[in-house]
Symmetry: C2
Subunit: 339 residues, 2 copies
């Protein structure tokens, strides 16, 4: 195997605005050989996520910037094919923050073991992994929903938003989702149990639409998008409401932060709270989230959906598609043995 | 006394922009006679506060709008001159939310007893009253300052801001105040123990000035003003910082909410929190605040300053002056027996 070559996707240039295929370059490299205490992992599923857009911005990224010429990275689930590490054997399934490469080396630092008996291994990148955990902590710890309250979720058909709404429903809340197609809205209301949905792309007046869908106002707003959708949500905040800021996908592609309506007055008027959060804040409680999410998935209380794109060559396409809203639920790229 | 007449200030019209004397009308009325369970109070000190600007706006006021033709209202400290109420005697000093009138009736509902032995009775409207309590809960409960952190206060020379900074100093924080004159800045740094001050009126670049005065960034921002000063403060928020929104005086006089830089991205980037609050949230804990504030004032740990305007006729002038920044510390109007 060590004389084989394999494919790797590099960041070739930083996008201005939405990422395009031109920002990525595929190279053929020799498959690396694991050293002492290292394993070689063959990738099965690759996660593409909105936050990556920020990591390839030039500067001021909250999580540290990635540079042109370097491999793209992300969450990967794969199988160990060579091991010099005492804790891993060939055939083990693991998850880690790895390169967009067919084969990746690891010394075990970012690896977590994946149990193929528990659920399909792809869920380790989604509902039982970072996106599920983000939904869990962001809604329950930052949003603090109480039974009977109205929870409004933007980006509701995305990997995080679709789980947020279902956890809110399990907590006895009225759940309203905002998404960008009638197909997505139907999925939210018919399959996931959302009480109402708003297709922001076909709505003339998002402000009025939020008001109509939330006749008792908004108690918890889970924000994945920012921008004008969020402006509309703020206009309907109730007294004592909580806003959990998880993502601002509407703004990731802007070179300069645009202006928008000032919001602090509304927070004062309603005695409300806004908090931005990132998953690593809750690192010490990942197991709690995974256990509860696994129970909910197992019992059918929570449904999850994956949009799976096949083929390693399609990684940049799947990533760019996130910003066009082509995915429902978690967007993954699958690489099969046969490929 | 019941055949006497007395002066009352009515709201005559709603201001557009800053309030002016034309928005108020003085009328001469018969002094009312207390009924059963009522007292008649002769006013000594009248409180004028920025929040009143919002109460005389046409609509959407968070505390309920006051109407033209009605008397203006506010915090008043006065002496009971007639009593049909079993709990109050002639000569008692009380505080309440009363009319801008020389004599006010009350059934006791909004009254609190004021102890003239504890401190000058005017402090019941300031450091030992609503403004002191607002500073206490807003800083400690909303801002949650920790020793060694940097606390930035806008409107720092105002009634609330000047107390906020001193409580922050007592909690071991580095305290930076923003105010609108060199005289105010000198008072903050020389008399109240603020570590640094920024005169926003003489600063070319408020953004750079905040950066220079807060070299380690801002951990707690106590916001009394909103607008561009607040934009500059947000740019320097540290990871995990807290913003307490107490007032937005820069915006009270705007007919429509102006746009400004979007801020949720910064909250996400820094995992920070913003909360708007109003004093009544903490109603069950007023005694706690008053007791601690009284100890601090008594021991000299906290200094307070009042800007006292003499004469009932000057109530509208003193109120309008708040928006020109003429006051240092708590703005009061005093009416003496001799008047």
């Amino acid at each position: 195997m060590t004389t084989q070559t394999h494919r790797t996707w590099l960041l070739s240039s930083r996008p201005t605005g939405e990422p395009t295929l031109e920002n990525f370059e595929q190279v053929e490299r020799e498959v690396p050989t694991p050293g002492a205490h290292e394993v070689l992992i063959e990738g099965r599923y690759y996660s593409v996520d909105p936050y990556m857009r920020d990591r390839i911005s030039p500067e001021d990224s909250y999580a540290g910037s990635w540079n042109p010429g370097e491999p793209m990275r992300g969450g990967v689930v794969g199988e160990i094919v060579e091991s010099n590490h005492p804790e891993y054997e060939v055939g083990d399934i693991v998850k880690g923050l790895l390169e967009w490469a067919e084969y990746c080396l690891s010394d075990g630092t970012t690896l977590e073991r994946v149990d193929p008996e528990l659920a399909p291994i792809s869920t380790a990148l989604g509902v039982l992994g970072p996106t599920g955990r983000t939904a869990y902590f962001g809604l329950l710890d930052v949003g603090e929903p109480r039974p009977g309250e109205t929870v409004l979720v933007s980006g509701a058909a995305g990997a995080v938003g679709s789980i947020v709404g279902q956890i809110a429903r399990l907590n006895g809340c009225r759940v309203v989702g905002i998404a960008g197609s009638d197909e997505k809205i139907a999925w939210l209301t018919d399959d996931l149990g959302f009480d109402a949905g708003i297709n922001y792309k076909t709505t003339d007046d998002i402000h009025a639409a939020v008001g109509a869908a939330c006749p008792d106002g908004v108690d918890v707003y889970f924000d994945n998008v920012g921008g004008e959708i969020t402006d509309a949500a703020f206009a309907h905040l109730n007294t004592g409401s909580r806003v959990a800021v998880c993502g601002q996908i509407a703004l990731y592609n802007d070179a300069e932060m645009p202006d928008g309506p000032r919001k602090l007055w509304k927070l004062l008027e309603t005695q409300s709270q806004v908090r931005g959060f990132l998953l690593p804040e809750f690192e010490g409680r990942y197991d709690e989230a995974t256990e509860r999410l696994a129970e909910w998935v197992d019992s059918g209380a929570i449904e999850y959906t994956e949009t799976v794109t096949d083929g390693f060559d399609n990684l940049p396409t799947a990533f760019a598609g996130l910003f066009e809203g082509t995915n429902i639920g978690k967007q993954l790229v699958r690489v099969t043995d046969a490929e």
